[in-house]
C-alpha cells in the first residue's frame, strides 16, 4: 500500500550511511597517491612504506583517539598533552631489553588511560562541557609531562628504533602497529560497548532512558581514547628514539582536522573510523606532497587552511541537500 514511500525511505536510508563521503575521500586519496608516485617512484617499496607509516602512525592513532571522543559528542583538546605524557613516561622507563620496553609501554599506557579516564570522569560527573574540561586538562597534563620529563631526553633501545624506522626483516612494523590498532578498534566497535558509544553520541538521553550507564560509557570512551593517544606517543618515541615534552602540541588540532575531514561529526554519533583513517592519511600525504612540490613555505600554511575548508565545505554542502 505504501510501497513507494517506503522504497524512498529505504533508498535515502542507504545514502545516509555516509559511504558517499568516503567515496569522495577515497577518490582524493587516489589522486594524491598517483601524484605522489610520480614525484617519488619508490612510494610502494617496502622501505618507503616503512618510513611513511612510521611518520603517519602518531597522527593516525591520535586521530583514532580523537574520533572515539568525538563519537560521544565530545572533543579532546588535551590530546596533544596526553600524547607527550605517554611519550615521556615511556622513555623514562625504558632500558635495553624486551621486558623493560614492554613494562615501560604498559606503564605509559596505564598513565594515558588514566589521564583520559580522568577527563571522561570530569565530563561525565561534573556536567562540564568537554571542550572546557579538556582545555583546562591540557594545562594539567602538559604540566605533568614537564614534571616527568623537564626537557627532551630519555632513551629508547637503538635496536628498536632501527627496526621500527628501517623495517624488521623487511616488515614495516609501524604499518603493522596501525593495522593491529585498527583491528582492535574494529573489535571494540562490534562489542556492546561500541554500539553503546554510538548510542550515547547520537542520543544521550535516549540511551540513558534505555538503561545505558552513560557516565560509565563516557569514562571508558575517554580512557580508550587515552589508550590510542598513548600508543601514538609511544610510536613517536620509538620513531624519534627519545622523548620530548612539547612535541605533542600540534597533534591536538591535527587529530581534530583528520577526524573532521573523515566525516566525524562534532555533535557525536556520526562517522566511521575508516573515514578518520582516510582523513589522517590524506592530511599526512598532502603535507608531504607540499614538500616535494617546492611551493614556498610561506604558502604552505595558506594551502593547509584552504584544503581543510574546501574539504569540509564540499562535504557539508554535499550532505546539506539530504538534511534540509
Amino acid at each position: 500500500m505504501r510501497n513507494r514511500l517506503e522504497t524512498a525511505v529505504r533508498l535515502s536510508g542507504r545514502a545516509a550511511r555516509g559511504n558517499l563521503d568516503l567515496v569522495g575521500l577515497c577518490g582524493l586519496l587516489v589522486v594524491v597517491l598517483v601524484v605522489y608516485q610520480r614525484l617519488d617512484p619508490t612510494l610502494l617499496e617496502p622501505a618507503t612504506i616503512t618510513i611513511l607509516s612510521a611518520q603517519f602512525l602518531p597522527l593516525i592513532l591520535a586521530a583514532v583517539g580523537q574520533t572515539i571522543v568525538m563519537l560521544t559528542g565530545g572533543i579532546d583538546l588535551s590530546l596533544g598533552a596526553v600524547l607527550s605524557l605517554g611519550m615521556a613516561v615511556f622513555v623514562i622507563n625504558t632500558a635495553d631489553g624486551t621486558m623493560s620496553v614492554v613494562t615501560a609501554m604498559v606503564i605509559a599506557l596505564a598513565v594515558t588511560v588514566l589521564a583520559g579516564a580522568a577527563n571522561g570522569a570530569l565530563v561525565a560527573y561534573a556536567g562540564l562541557p568537554p571542550i572546557i574540561v579538556t582545555l583546562a586538562a591540557s594545562f594539567l597534563w602538559g604540566g605533568v609531562t614537564l614534571i616527568v620529563l623537564p626537557q627532551p631526553g630519555g632513551h629508547v633501545p637503538t635496536g628498536l628504533v632501527r627496526a621500527y624506522n628501517l623495517g624488521w626483516y623487511g616488515l614495516a612494523l609501524p604499518a603493522i602497529a596501525i593495522a593491529v590498532a585498527l583491528v582492535l578498534w574494529k573489535v571494540v566497535k562490534t562489542t556492546r560497548f561500541g554500539l553503546t558509544l554510538y548510542a550515547v553520541g547520537g542520543n544521550e538521553h535516549g540511551a540513558f532512558a534505555n538503561g545505558v550507564n552513560t557516565r560509565r560509557v563516557k569514562i571508558v570512551a575517554y580512557g580508550l581514547a587515552g589508550l590510542f593517544t598513548g600508543l601514538a606517543g609511544i610510536g613517536l618515541a620509538i620513531q624519534t628514539g627519545s622523548g620530548d615534552p612539547t612535541i605533542g602540541t600540534p597533534y591536538t588540532l591535527n587529530s581534530i582536522a583528520a577526524a573532521v575531514l573523515g566525516g566525524i561529526s562534532f555533535f557525536g554519533g556520526i562517522g566511521q573510523m575508516r573515514g578518520t583513517l582516510l582523513g589522517a592519511l590524506l592530511l599526512g600525504l598532502l603535507t608531504n606532497l607540499l614538500l616535494f612540490t617546492g611551493i614556498s613555505t610561506f604558502y604552505q600554511m595558506i594551502l593547509q587552511g584552504v584544503v581543510l575548508v574546501a574539504a569540509v565545505a564540499v562535504k557539508t554542502l554535499a550532505t546539506r541537500e539530504r538534511v534540509a
Partner: protein, 359 residues
C-alpha cells in the same frame, strides 16, 4: 546523490590538477642536479666541480631571527652558486611541528639532497632521521638549536656557557648579593633549559642572591612583558634581572622605564629593541651584558658542509664563540635605523670561518 559524487570528484580533480602543476615545476627544476649528485653519492673525488643540492629545514621561520638567518644564508648560497658549488637551494618550514620536520627531512632524503641544514625543533627527536640521512651519504649540518647526535656536524654556541657568562656578570655587578627575577624561555625546550642550567650553576655559588621569581615565556615581547609585569608587581624590590633572551630583556627594561622605577642591571641578547633602549638609558646608569646567537651560524654550517664534501676534514662539533656586547662596544651593535625586532651582529671574517671549519 549523483550531485554529491560529482562534486566530490570535481574537488578531487581540481586539487589533483593543482598538485600536478606543482609537481611539474619540481620535475623541470630539480632533476638535473639530483641526477648528478646520485651518480656520485660520496662526493669525495668529484671535488669542487660538483654543484650541490642544498636544503634547510627549520622548526620555525616566523621569528625575525630566523628571517635574518634565512637572508644571510641565501646571500651565501648566491655566492656559492656563483662559484658553481651549489646548484639549488630550498627552505622548509616545520612551523613548530617536530613531526613535520621529520617528514621534511625524510622528503629531502627521498629527493636526494646533498646537504641538509637543520635548525632542530627537538634536541633528540630528529636523531634517527638525521642519522638515516647520514647513512645515505648526505652531509647533515645542524646549527643554532642542536640535536644530541654525534653523527652530524653541529655548529652552535655553548648555551650553558651563555647562561654562565651572563649570570656571572650579573652576580659580579650585584656584588654577590641581592634579589633577582629570572626570565627564561619556554619550559621543556632545550635551549632555554641549558641557558638556565648554566645560570643556575653560577647563582648556586652566591647564596645571598635570591631568585624571587622564575618566569617562563615565549621569546617574544608581548607575553614576556606581561609575565614580567606580574612577577615585578609581586617583587618590586629586586636589584637585578637575569634574562636569557633579548625580547625578555627588552620587556623587563621597558617595564621598569614605563613605571619610572630604578633601572637595575639586566642581562641580555642582541635584540635591537633592547640594545636601542640600553643605549638610550646608559647615561642614566643602566648597564647590561648581552651576548648573541649569531646568525652566521647558518653560514658556517653551510660552508662546513660544502667543505666536508670538498674533502676537508671538518670537525663534527663547531662551537662558535659567544660575542660580548658591553657598555663599551654597544654602539657598534645598536642600530637606531633598524626595527626593534632585529638582531644586529658584527659580520664574521671569512678567515674566522675557515679556521672554525678546519680549512
Amino acid at each position: 546523490m549523483t550531485g554529491t559524487t560529482r562534486r566530490a570528484l570535481i574537488a578531487a580533480a581540481a586539487l589533483g590538477a593543482l598538485l600536478t602543476t606543482g609537481a611539474c615545476n619540481v620535475d623541470s627544476g630539480g632533476t638535473t642536479p639530483s641526477g648528478a649528485a646520485s651518480s656520485d653519492p660520496s662526493g669525495g673525488t668529484a671535488g669542487t666541480a660538483k654543484a650541490l643540492k642544498v636544503g634547510w629545514s627549520t622548526i620555525y621561520l616566523a621569528p625575525s631571527w630566523m628571517q635574518q638567518t634565512l637572508k644571510m644564508l641565501e646571500e651565501d648560497v648566491a655566492r656559492l652558486k656563483g662559484e658553481g658549488k651549489v646548484a639549488s637551494y630550498e627552505t622548509f618550514n616545520a612551523n613548530g611541528d617536530t613531526s613535520q620536520q621529520i617528514a621534511q627531512i625524510q622528503a629531502m632524503i627521498q629527493q636526494k639532497y646533498d646537504v641538509i641544514l637543520v635548525d632542530a625543533g627537538s634536541s633528540t627527536a630528529l636523531n634517527p632521521v638525521l642519522e638515516q640521512a647520514v647513512a645515505q651519504g648526505i652531509t647533515v649540518a645542524n646549527f643554532d638549536s642542536l640535536v644530541t647526535s654525534d653523527k652530524v656536524i653541529r655548529v652552535g654556541t655553548d648555551q650553558v656557557e651563555w647562561g654562565k657568562m651572563t649570570a656571572q656578570w650579573l652576580a659580579d655587578k650585584l656584588g654577590g648579593k641581592g634579589e633577582i627575577i629570572a626570565m627564561n624561555g619556554p619550559a621543556g625546550v632545550a635551549v632555554s633549559e641549558e641557558r638556565w642550567k648554566g645560570a643556575e650553576e653560577v647563582f648556586k655559588k652566591y647564596p645571598d642572591i635570591k631568585i624571587s621569581a622564575n618566569v617562563h615565556s615565549e621569546y617574544n615581547l608581548a607575553p614576556a612583558a606581561q609575565a614580567f609585569a606580574s612577577a615585578y608587581s609581586a617583587h618590586p624590590n629586586i636589584t637585578g634581572v637575569f634574562s636569557q633572551g633579548g625580547a625578555l630583556s627588552a620587556a623587563a627594561l621597558q617595564t621598569l622605564v614605563k613605571q619610572d622605577k630604578k633601572l637595575v642591571p639586566i642581562t641580555g641578547e642582541n635584540y635591537n629593541g633592547f640594545l636601542k633602549m640600553w643605549a638610550d638609558k646608559r647615561k642614566e646608569g643602566f648597564s647590561s651584558l648581552s651576548t648573541a646567537q649569531p646568525n652566521y651560524l647558518s653560514v658556517i654550517a653551510l660552508e662546513a658542509a660544502v667543505a666536508k664534501i670538498g674533502g676537508t676534514a671538518v670537525p663534527m662539533d663547531i662551537t662558535v664563540p659567544l660575542p660580548k656586547i658591553t657598555d663599551d662596544n654597544l654602539d657598534q651593535y645598536a642600530k637606531q635605523d633598524q626595527p626593534d625586532d632585529s638582531y644586529p651582529i658584527q659580520p664574521i671574517p671569512q678567515s674566522e670561518i675557515d679556521k672554525l671549519i678546519g680549512k
